[in-house]
Subunit: 242 residues, 2 copies
């Protein structure tokens, strides 16, 4: 907290550009149980989301980080809420509202095993057919928060990890979810779980391709964009709690 | 290495009770891809397997640890081979033979998605039916190594994580796999990912229930049992390399 304080002082912005702002962030994967031993999940180290939480906290924001299972220590001064499944993540996010900005960085499993057994399943093939795991659709956390009538955060930002046609898929996702920005992440290379990201920031009216850079640098740059957006033209931030 | 050396000296056994023994251990989960983003996996912190690798190395064994993705540092003096899938794990184990003892601690996914897409799948439900993920059976690493005609390790030990009927399932597993011992792990409580385990050591002719204890203590006790078994009645160990 002392380091964050000094950083914000050095920024010349008193308590920080995001002082008084409540930022809600999701990070990491979700794990969707098939039984007590097996689960379906997504690759996600949580590093990008944790870096954004840290960057926002350093700018003075009050940060709630809802995180799936990762091997990272929570950033200093951030309220950490640990969850496993997408449904638990949605509930934790809704419990954390109101928020001024919501940033959905988590690699949420969009599908889960339709039935979760309480005992370890003995899976067997029959002569007739291979076994199959039926899937059920998870709640869409980004879409749900984007479309809240009450308590919709002023700025809702989604992440999209795509292996191909990155910008097209991301722009379609922006429209489909009803969020304000999409940070499109090109994961066709070797960035997954690594230290760097290559992103395109997509808003309703423009696309901004950032050079490949460290996840911390992506986080700092995004935090500045968020501060500028929430500050508006007059530089004053209107808060969810007001 | 210096610490291990001192420990083995303190044991009063010169270079250690397992000096010259090649121990092959698997640990952690495997991850079975559905596409570049999604995977099917098993809960496993890798802590028990890593503790056993450390305990055997401390007794002077030459240890090869084949590990799925975990958030642990490899124990000192152990050769670490990192893998993701069950098929990669089997290949890494076969490449590491001959070994005197094989200990299968990994939570190997017994089933994988039948098809692994190279692009991120867009999963959709139809009006007619929910989507399903077809499963294919993975190679059985414990059974394969237990039944090798050439290069079968002298002592093959499996682990069984069960939530119910622990001893019955474990004894059936011993017979089915063709291994020598099963360490049956009762995971009905809260031990998964935790610091402790509650195990039953099952051999062809007996069962030995150990009290609930730390994973390091389970590892040390198992390492001593292995040393006694490989040493035989005359205390001399016959090595795979001889």
């Amino acid at each position: 907290a002392i380091v964050a304080e000094i950083e914000t002082q050095l920024n010349g912005q008193g308590q920080g550009a995001l002082s008084g702002v409540h930022a809600l962030i999701t990070a990491g994967p979700t794990r969707e149980p098939l039984d007590p031993v097996r689960y379906l999940s997504n690759h996600s180290s949580g590093r990008q989301g944790y870096a954004i939480a840290a960057a926002l906290a350093a700018q003075g924001a009050d940060v709630t980080l809802v995180s799936g299972p990762v091997a990272l220590a929570p950033p200093r001064g951030v309220t950490l809420v640990k969850i496993e499944t997408a449904r638990q993540m949605l509930k934790a996010c809704e419990d954390a509202l109101p928020a001024d900005v919501f940033i959905s960085v988590a690699a949420v499993a969009d599908w889960r095993p339709a039935r979760a057994a309480t005992k370890k399943l003995k899976i067997k093939a029959t002569d007739a057919e291979a076994p199959a795991m039926e899937l059920a659709e998870n709640p869409d956390i980004l879409k749900t928060l984007s479309n809240k009538r009450k308590n919709r955060p002023r700025l809702v930002i989604g992440f999209a990890a795509e292996t191909h046609d990155v910008e097209d898929y991301a722009r379609a996702k922006l429209a489909r979810k009803g969020c304000d920005w999409i940070v499109a992440n090109d994961v066709s290379g070797d960035v997954m779980g690594g230290a760097e990201n290559e992103v395109v920031l997509i808003t309703h009216d423009q696309s901004e391709r950032w050079p490949r850079m460290g996840k911390e640098e992506v986080a700092t740059r995004l935090a500045r964009k968020i501060a500028a957006e929430l500050g508006g033209d007059d530089g004053g931030i209107k808060l969810a709690a007001e």
